[in-house]
């Protein structure tokens, strides 16, 4: 019982941390073609995510692996019910990864322009389909006790699309802040201007999302029965708002950190509302996949809890140190040439 609750929380944390980290890779990837003018800026923008994107993506692999180990039924259902969306996420991640790694491996203008666009498009489609998938999970999937009644096109409903747009907007702001923080010169100036503007967009979409959630999902039921929980969405909004004054005072790292916290808290808001469901059924509550009816046995949950308790802090420490190592601002002539 307690272990299942613990793993529900860990499951949520792994996904949230994944979006917090890979979110700025996606954002920077989407924006790079539009913010970076000229070859040297494009090199800088790539070097801003080059050393870290792969380590960030491992959080997704860990989230997937943890789902498999702790909630096999959820893993099997999520990936097979959402077969085509998962395929699109996979293809996006494949193209995104090789675009970053291969872009600077040849000099031709056509070669580079091809990979620049491949990176921009795949950095858009990955969060788009992830948002669509999670939006539909928040609403509930049409799961009956004897099977799945859904199809691909029904995922493109209003709330699903709104969640996709929210993900994209959050990551755009996140990526713009990251580029401003990591780079210098005209690229940083343009990133700053865009981040300023995006704040209004993100706040508007987030407000719309929080309201739509009340109508499209059962997420607020948990909050109504325990009003103290409303602290989490309030904090999410507070951090989203805080991005602006921090940014205006040129506390760029502070603004980026607030954006990190906001992304984690937005996802926490949704996951807390889902509990104990991991994938609610929209047609038959008895068919919902919950932390209690879809988990592994106590032995595996305890074992994996011990593994996570030892190794996740170690990972956080060395990834944090790696980020510190790369904290010096990238300037022309210091970035891309090693890549």
């Amino acid at each position: 019982m307690t272990l299942q609750v613990l793993w529900f929380a860990l499951w949520g944390v792994l996904w949230a941390v994944y979006f917090m980290l890979d979110g700025f890779d996606f954002g920077a990837g989407m924006l790079r073609n539009f913010l970076a003018e000229g070859e040297s800026d494009r090199g800088l923008a790539l070097a801003a995510i080059g050393p870290v994107w792969n380590g960030n993506e491992v959080w997704l692999i860990t989230a997937g692996g943890a789902t498999f180990a702790a909630f096999p039924l959820v893993y099997a259902s999520m990936f097979s019910f959402l077969y085509l969306p998962m395929l699109l996420i996979l293809f996006s991640l494949i193209v995104r990864g090789v675009s970053i790694e291969f872009r600077n491996k040849s000099e031709g203008a056509k070669w580079r322009s091809w990979w620049d666009w491949a990176l921009a498009i795949s950095s858009l489609t990955a969060p788009l389909v992830l948002g669509l998938g999670f939006g539909n999970i928040f609403e509930g999937l049409p799961i009956a006790t004897d099977g799945y009644r859904g199809g691909f096109w029904m995922l493109f409903n209003g709330y699903g699309l709104l969640t996709a747009i929210l993900f994209i907007a959050l990551f755009l702001q996140h990526g713009a802040l990251w580029l401003e923080y990591r780079t210098s010169g005209s690229l940083a100036v343009r990133s700053r201007a865009l981040a300023s503007f995006l704040w209004y967009v993100v706040l508007g979409i987030a407000a719309l999302f929080l309201v739509a959630t009340a109508f499209a999902t059962r997420i607020y039921d948990n909050y109504l029965s325990r009003p103290a929980l409303f602290l989490v969405p309030l904090l999410a909004v507070a951090f989203l708002v805080a991005v602006k004054p921090l940014h205006a005072r040129s506390r760029v790292l502070g603004a980026f950190s607030a954006s990190c916290a906001a992304i984690v808290l937005v996802l926490a808001t949704a996951f807390i509302g889902l509990f104990p469901d991991l994938i609610p059924s929209s047609i038959d509550p008895a068919a919902s996949l919950t932390a209690f009816n879809s988990s592994s046995g106590q032995y595996t949950l305890r074992l994996m809890a011990i593994v996570a308790a030892i190794f996740v802090p170690i990972v956080i420490v060395y990834q944090f140190l790696a980020y510190r190592f790369f904290r010096a601002k990238l300037a022309k002539g210091t970035g891309g040439e090693d890549y």
Partner: protein, 435 residues
């Protein structure tokens, strides 16, 4: 085609493609770390150039390996949902541990290595690559523990129609997995050494950077000889595991139809699976098959005909992948032995015929590695978890053949494109010998 057939073709496609990149990542990371350590210790510029040259090829290969690796994690849930439900409790654990313990380490430190040339000392930089090499082998261990459980399930109990882990120690001390790690690592070092020797040979034939490539070739030859000799030991140990735990795989890979004691090994053998016998059996070595399988010259080998027809794997596929892999394995020892002799006598330049052979031989370990996995996985059929769950019962129930056809075509297109780009970049960097 059925969802099951299409899903099997798809899994074979993505797994075989992914494994084109895995062994070079495992072996070349350690070779590059070794080269850079030489540079750190001697300060000689030739080792720096060598490190940079081979690391560029390593990084291209690594990138494709990483992006195609995620596919496999997704595949279990997408196409094999019934499998995932059945085994998740046991099989999910090593996969999740692999990501947490090994893959984070590997990817974070490789990012660090690529971008820290000018910021840390030579020794520290070399040490970072050793971490990458260590983490990639650690990663292989956890993946093979997961695969080892599919081959020889242990440490579980069946609860409510699902396998539940009851003994983690039994899972991690599975002898099948550790022997497979030994086998896979030695195969990876053989492949990586032949890769280094092959590309060095091409450049030596063109008369480029002779000092660096002679030294690279010498490293490749030495490691290649050691690794290819150790594979024979690993292969022997693997064969005994198969004999002990997977009698149907043993019978199929040896094309042994009847149960016999003191079984001979036929050097020349051609199975006729439709007729359930062998078309040709010639050049027998008396008692050899019994000796190899059970280390006893009189041991009994159970023949395929004594297993129900619906429990036998494809004889043609397992037999030929096994035979060809073994033949290639012995060829590697011979080639590596000649390579060591020529490299250490410094007579490579005088034996251009050998350089020409080695420049083509670099593809052979790729063939052998893939055949080894074809044997391991096809020989396990019709089981997805040996003796426990059939592949036909493991496939997702909610997907359609059209879904899988779409994804299969998508994979073929994207992977075909990746293969072309990878080949282009490897060829480009292989030629680029100056900074």
């Amino acid at each position: 085609m059925s969802v099951e057939a299409l899903s099997r073709v798809q899994f074979a496609t993505v797994a075989i493609f992914h494994f084109l990149f895995v062994p070079l990542t495992l072996g070349l990371s350690a070779l590059v770390a070794f080269m850079e350590t030489r540079y750190a210790l001697t300060g000689r510029e030739v080792y720096l150039r060598m490190t940079k040259y081979w690391s560029r090829l390593f990084l291209v290969n690594f990138a494709v390996g990483v992006v195609t690796g995620i596919t496999l994690e997704f595949q279990f849930g997408m196409n094999w949902a019934e499998y995932s439900k059945f085994v998740g409790d046991v099989f999910g654990a090593p996969l999740a541990i692999e990501a947490t313990v090994a893959f984070f380490l590997e990817s974070t430190f490789l990012g660090l290595w690529v971008f820290s040339w000018k910021r840390v000392s030579k020794g520290v930089h070399a040490a970072i690559m050793w971490v990458v090499a260590f983490a990639s082998t650690l990663s292989a261990l956890w993946i093979l523990l997961a695969n080892g459980w599919m081959q020889k399930p242990r440490g579980f109990a069946l609860v409510g129609g699902r396998a539940q882990l009851v003994d983690f120690g039994a899972l991690i001390w599975n002898p099948y997995a550790w022997i497979k790690l030994f086998h896979t690592s030695m195969a990876a070092f053989t492949l990586s050494s032949f890769f280094v020797m092959g590309i060095s040979a091409i450049n030596l034939l063109r008369g480029k950077s002779e000092d660096m490539f002679k030294r690279s070739f010498r490293i490749g030859a030495t490691v290649g000889l050691a690794a290819s000799l150790l594979i024979i030991l690993a292969g022997d140990l693997s064969g005994r595991q198969v004999a002990e735990y997977q009698p149907t795989k043993l019978a199929a890979m040896e094309s042994q139809w009847d149960t016999v004691s003191s079984a001979p090994f036929y050097l020349l053998e051609v199975p006729r699976p439709k007729a359930e016998r062998n078309g040709i059996e010639a050049l027998p070595i008396p008692n050899m098959l019994s000796l190899l399988s059970y280390h006893s010259p009189t041991a009994t080998i159970k023949g395929l005909l004594d297993f129900p027809a619906d429990q036998r794997p494809s004889v043609a596929v397992t037999f030929w992948s096994f035979r060809i892999m073994v033949a290639l394995g012995f060829l590697f020892v011979l080639l590596a032995l000649l390579a060591v002799i020529f490299a250490w006598k410094d007579s490579l330049a005088a034996n251009r015929w050998f350089l020409r052979i080695m420049s083509f031989a670099l593809i052979l370990p790729y063939v052998a590695c893939e055949l080894g996995w074809v044997l391991a996985e096809m020989g396990r059929q019709p089981w997805i978890v040996y003796g426990l769950l059939r592949t036909v019962d493991a496939v997702s129930r909610t997907i359609t053949a059209a879904d899988v056809l779409i994804s299969l075509i998508g994979f073929i297109l994207i992977y075909g494109f990746l293969a072309a780009v990878d080949a282009y970049l490897l060829a480009k960097y292989a030629r680029q010998t100056e900074e």
